[in-house]
């Protein structure tokens, strides 16, 4: 065993009179899962807050084949020094209820609403009780993730509920007006609804209504074999396919207590960093395009296309889908191809640096991005904003460091530390990350060790679970998987960083005029698909 069990959180909780039981069937031991009493739930999260831990995710699961009756709620936290820890508590299936933790961790409230929608678990003292993923036309008693729910036939809408509208935050003032936008937006983007309250040009409040692309992924995962489940995991959010495939594969590998070859982990690192580069470059261009600086957009989409074409050649897919397998990677790299990838990563990073100088010297774009869409350090830390969004606002979580996984445990992962929290800072962080990603790709490929790219998969026992966190290009993706009897998936939960970063967008647009919304939105570029699942 490479890592010993992490007992720090259990000791801290016991100091606060919260009794914990270590779960043997959860892996890896350095990210332990602790069983706590139902009545300690809110108190445990309060303690975690006091200890300076960051909230990662909150979800529920029926115990499946082990115990048909049991229902559990889970939450995950991470400490900058003592790393990840999970808490679990049983919920009475006859009368399912649990205390809300959103008073301590604001980012939990949409996940709690989701838990109410999906399981019918009543969350006590939650300050926002509206349905979230469950849209108004759903039948009232539909709780898709309960075992008793038939997930195999398309759910019919409830005709009596057809005219009910979501209860948006109202405003009594005669000066304020509402602008409804979406779900079908003007550009080539995903669907979601934004409700603006504006006074003149200024945005008073913006409220998100998501869930339009909810595709029942968590339910569809249940009962799949690992190969099919991996394909689906890679399509949780198409632009982040490497990150999502990796987190699924890693969680499965942890659950089965297996490790992959160093060569495979290096190639995974290359895939992930290439994805980071491609998306950041594309987004930098798109942000500039939203401020009418089309030159950058044309240049950046050219570079992105160059990357996509080499991806097709090297890995067989322009967007790098299905390149990661359970136990390794699906394509090996020849020495020639390594050289090509090194060369291109180096060239593109140099071109981006050149474009960056032009961008920084162009007053027309700088005037739009500087000071627009600010999220303060306090808010960012409070919400726990992830990835480049957090790093632009003085909050620097990075799963590549916190979750300690190969190949990053052997690399120096530099973290750009922004503080000002506006569009320009987010763009700055992205520029930095492009350069860092290119450096890491070159480093990994130059030292690519020999070896297999695939380790044989052996399914874990029924009931074994694994937790993994991967730094995708948007930020930390967290996932938890539990296996059923025949090596199939019993329950898969995944939290895309968007689930947290969407909250940051609502705050960021409060300072800008309505026409700046697209600019600010693009600088976040949260995933709708990754959030809605």
């Amino acid at each position: 065993m490479k890592h010993l069990a992490n007992t720090w959180f259990a000791e801290q909780l016991s100091n606060h009179n919260i009794y914990t039981e270590y779960l043997e069937d959860h892996h890896p031991a350095r990210m332990p899962c602790l069983d706590i009493r139902h009545l300690d739930w809110a108190n445990a999260s309060k303690t975690a807050k006091l200890l300076g831990m960051r909230f990662v995710a909150l979800w529920a699961a029926q115990a499946g084949q082990q115990d048909k009756k049991a229902l559990y709620a889970y939450m995950a936290f991470v400490h900058p020094e003592h790393r990840y820890a999970l808490l679990r508590t049983p919920i009475n299936l006859e009368n399912p209820e649990i205390a809300s933790i959103s008073q301590h961790y604001i980012a939990a409230y949409r996940m709690e609403r989701n838990m109410q929608d999906m399981f019918g678990i009543k969350v006590n003292d939650i300050f926002d009780n509206r349905w979230w993923i469950k849209h108004e036309h759903w039948p009232e008693d539909a709780h898709p993730l309960l075992d008793s729910f038939d997930g195999n036939t398309p759910m019919a809408s409830d005709p009596d509920r057809a005219d009910i509208d979501y209860d948006y935050v109202p405003c009594d003032s005669e000066c304020a007006y509402e602008i409804p936008v979406g779900p079908v937006h003007a550009g080539i983007i995903e669907p979601g609804h934004f409700r603006f309250l504006a006074v003149g040009e200024k945005i008073l409040n913006m409220e998100e209504r998501l869930g339009y692309v909810h595709k029942g992924i968590e339910k569809a995962m249940q009962g799949r074999n690992v190969e099919d489940a991996l394909k689906l995991a890679g399509r949780v959010s198409g632009d982040s396919t490497v990150g999502h495939s990796w987190v699924f594969a890693q969680a499965c590998e942890y659950a089965a207590d297996m490790s992959i070859s160093t060569r495979a982990s290096y190639i995974r690192g290359v895939l992930c960093e290439r994805e980071r580069m491609a998306n950041h470059i594309g987004d930098i261009g798109a942000v500039c395009n939203d401020a009418a600086f089309a030159f950058m957009h044309v240049q950046c989409s050219r570079l992105r296309e160059d990357m996509a074409r080499l991806h097709a050649e090297a890995f067989g897919h322009r967007l790098l889908m299905d390149c990661i397998s359970i136990g390794g990677v699906s394509r090996d790299l020849s020495t020639d191809m390594c050289q090509k990838l090194i060369q291109q990563s180096r060239d593109i990073a140099a071109e981006v640096e050149h474009l960056r100088a032009i961008y920084a010297d162009a007053p027309s774009i700088q005037q739009r991005v500087i000071g627009a869409g600010i999220v303060s350090i306090e808010d960012a830390t409070d919400i726990g904003l992830l990835g480049f969004v957090g790093r632009a606002s003085g909050h620097y979580p990075d799963a590549r460091i916190e979750a300690v996984y190969a190949p990053y445990d052997e690399l120096n992962v530099p973290i750009p530390k922004g503080k000002l929290g506006g569009v320009s800072t987010r763009v700055w962080v992205r520029f930095e990350e492009v350069a860092n990603a290119a450096r890491m790709i070159i480093q990994l490929l130059e030292h690519l060790p020999e070896g297999n790219i695939q380790t044989a998969w052996k399914a874990p026992q029924a009931g074994e679970s694994g937790f993994a966190a991967i730094e995708g290009w948007r930020g930390e993706i967290a996932a938890w998987v539990r296996f059923a009897q025949d090596g199939s998936i019993d329950r898969y939960f995944v939290r895309d960083p968007s689930a947290i970063n969407w909250l940051g967008l609502e705050l960021a647009v409060r300072t800008v005029p309505v026409p700046d919304f697209p600019l600010v939105n693009k600088s976040f570029n949260c995933s709708y698909a990754g959030h809605d699942l």
Binding site: G151, N152, V213, G238, F295, D306, R309, M321, A357
Partner: protein, 176 residues
């Protein structure tokens, strides 16, 4: 400003089938693409007076298809030179491009967008999910069905996601 102009000059024209010798401008692919483009341009000239307006609706995709639609607009493919452009309003649209399986939460929005288009209207379903619900599966409570189950579809392009070339081919096929 000078630096912007210099950069534009330095990169030159990279659009497929142009005379430049970019690193990825492989002969065969370019010729095929240009041939496709020419056919598309002719069809659009003849039937739409040179301009085909497309409205995209993501009815539940993973956003992979959207990335490839963006790519079709980049300088390499530059789909706009053949007369194809993406419009913000269904009122101006000749064609509806739909990606993703139709989720139960997007079904109404998709139908409303379709109804808002002036007739005659064309519908192109893009990607495996739009064609047959793909990896998300037809046996899923949250999926209302493939695009053809919800609105009339004229053509389908397979792929996960379809490449920009495949997309242009499919637009041409829809017109014919």
């Amino acid at each position: 400003m000078l630096r912007i102009l210099y950069q534009i000059m330095k990169v030159g024209t990279i659009t497929e089938a142009s005379l430049s010798n970019g690193p990825f401008n492989q002969g065969e692919q370019s010729t095929r693409f240009e041939l496709l483009g020419k056919q598309l341009e002719t069809a659009i000239k003849k039937r739409f007076q040179g301009s085909l307006a497309i409205r995209l609706v993501d009815a539940g995709s993973c956003n992979g298809c959207e990335l490839e639609i963006h790519a079709a607009n980049n300088a390499y493919y530059d789909i706009e030179r053949f007369g194809v452009h993406f419009t913000a309003s269904p009122r101006f649209a000749d064609m509806l491009l739909v990606t993703g399986p139709v989720s139960i939460n997007m079904k109404t929005a998709l139908v409303l967008t379709y109804e808002a288009m002036p007739a005659p209207k064309l519908v192109l379903a893009m990607g495996d999910c739009a064609a047959n619900c793909g990896v998300f599966g037809v046996d899923n409570y949250a999926i209302a069905g493939s695009v053809a189950d919800i609105i009339p579809v004229d053509a389908v392009v397979y792929g996960c996601p379809p490449s920009p070339t495949a997309l242009i081919q499919a637009i041409l096929a829809t017109l014919e």
